[in-house]
């Protein structure tokens, strides 16, 4: 993630304030970089570039653009080990969600999550209605699904999340 010196002139001192304005990310400034999160992170083990401790440090330093444009913030497995084990009670999983929400607004969201939300507005679930599983359910005498996302769509539209466009696929 880091291949050049951090230039203080490029840091955004307001970034962390912007982040902690969200209740869910309030505790990020308590991070003292012990690395318990990173040590227990299954994604870090596979992709060393994905590093919760480093991300927390980057937020606190104000590396706004680097953090929000990073593809790595989207790789979290949501296992919750980081926040379960944090001695400072930093809810890093929630911090990351706040960062992803901010990144999504700036056009960095991957197609997967954007498309799933659009699908929920149609069928109420993240999948389209397909003949194969509809038939399988019939065979097993399981009740048909309603397959209606109208009410969910009304709520989702209130948040403007339906206007988010995914980043171009690389």
């Amino acid at each position: 993630m880091l291949d050049e010196p951090i230039r203080v002139s490029k840091l955004d001192p307001n970034f962390k304030l912007e982040v902690i304005a969200h209740e869910a990310a309030r505790d990020i400034t308590a991070c003292f970089s012990c690395g318990t999160c990173t040590a227990g992170c299954p994604i870090h083990e596979a992709y060393p570039e994905y590093d919760p401790r480093k991300m927390a440090r980057m937020v606190n330093l104000g590396m706004r653009e680097r953090v929000l444009s990073s593809p790595y913030i989207w790789y979290c497995a949501t296992c919750h080990n980081c926040e379960q084990r944090c001695p400072q009670n930093v809810k890093f999983f929630s911090v990351l969600n706040v960062l992803k929400n901010m990144a999504a607004k700036e056009g960095y969201a991957p197609p997967s999550w954007v498309n799933q939300t659009k699908q929920v507005m149609k069928t109420g679930i993240v999948f389209a209605t397909e003949e194969a599983w509809v038939k399988k359910r019939e065979e097993l005498s399981l009740r048909p699904l309603k397959g209606d996302g109208k009410e969910a769509a009304k709520l989702i539209q209130l948040t403007d999340v339906d206007k988010i466009e995914p980043r171009a696929q690389s």
């Binding site: 790789y75 979290c76 379960q84 084990r85 929920v120 209130l158 999340v161």
Partner: protein, 295 residues
């Protein structure tokens, strides 16, 4: 008194892993848990929080409100649904949050007053049915089966999921649930390793590497199958197993069961009609032969 719950199917179980739903319904009927279907339920919101925590919370609140309106608590099959709905219910205990969300829910004629409780189906089996009853009801001899349990991250975490029930860093309830059926549960190094399901939509390579790490750990151990309690974990370890084998040049052949399927086998269910074990891949033939059954 008979327990009653609204059954929360989620998105993936009913469309991709119907045998989990089938076996859960059979178990609950047989062991005295009444499941009520609410067809208005929608996605729990667990993936929406990635791009909008507010949209995710609204979807969770919508589901909690539907259950509350019918005076029911929720039992969820998916660990992630259970996790995200529990977290939402916790967050919505704060009046200010509830007021904000209710203003939005009112646009579709709903209101949530903070009453709905959410539990994962294994917790309901553990707490409402109990290990003693399972031991008493277990008639098929599973004592030759060696089982690797996989808990699933959201079954235990965040902490509010397992408070007063189990310990995220040293869990025991699934081990106990397995032992109660007569099968043995093993200990292994990567017990708490995540299945990678939530990384799959963004990076199949990443998910595959997590799946392989656990399957590698189990290779060479005396294990007849994995038993888990979430359909996403099932899709990773079972449905992706062949692809992962090919990718890494391995010959994995690890049967994977959902816990209600194992429990069903123990208490005498028909493997196909009641538990849908014929739908599991890799095949569970060898495992069934070991306990004296054919598909």
């Amino acid at each position: 008194m008979m327990s009653r719950y609204a059954i929360f199917l989620g998105c993936t179980t009913p469309t991709r892993v119907p045998q989990y739903e089938l076996s859960t319904r059979w178990i609950c009927k047989r062991l005295g848990i009444e499941l009520i279907d609410i067809e208005d339920f929608v996605c729990c919101g667990s993936n929406q929080i990635n791009i909008s925590m507010e949209a995710g919370l609204l979807l969770s609140a919508m589901n909690l409100a539907y259950a509350e309106a019918r005076d029911l608590d929720i039992v969820a099959l998916c660990a992630a649904c259970a996790g995200v709905l529990t977290e939402a219910a916790e967050e919505l205990k704060t009046q200010a949050v509830r007021d904000r969300i209710n203003k939005q829910l009112s646009t579709i004629g709903l209101e949530y007053n903070g009453k709905t409780q959410v539990k994962h189906v294994s917790r309901v089996i553990y707490e409402d049915i109990g290990l003693d009853k399972i031991r008493k009801e277990a008639k098929r001899d599973l004592s030759r089966l060696q089982v690797a349990p996989h808990y699933g991250c959201h079954y235990l975490k965040p902490g509010c999921m397992s408070e007063g029930f189990d310990e995220p860093d040293n869990p025991k309830t699934l081990h106990e649930l397995i032992s109660a059926t007569g099968a043995s549960s093993i200990e292994y190094e990567t017990l708490d390793l995540c299945c990678g399901g939530k990384t799959f939509p963004n990076s199949q390579d990443l998910a595959h590497s997590l799946i392989a790490r656990k399957l590698d750990n189990l290779e060479g151990k005396e294990v007849d199958c994995m038993v888990l309690q979430c359909q996403t974990c099932y899709l990773m370890y079972a449905a992706q197993q062949k692809k992962v084998s090919e990718k890494f040049g391995k010959q994995y052949n690890m049967p994977v069961l959902l816990y209600p399927q194992l429990l069903g086998l123990a208490i005498g269910a028909d493997p196909v009609a009641d538990l849908g074990l014929n739908l599991n891949t890799p095949s569970v033939d060898k495992l069934l032969a070991k306990i004296g059954n054919d598909l």
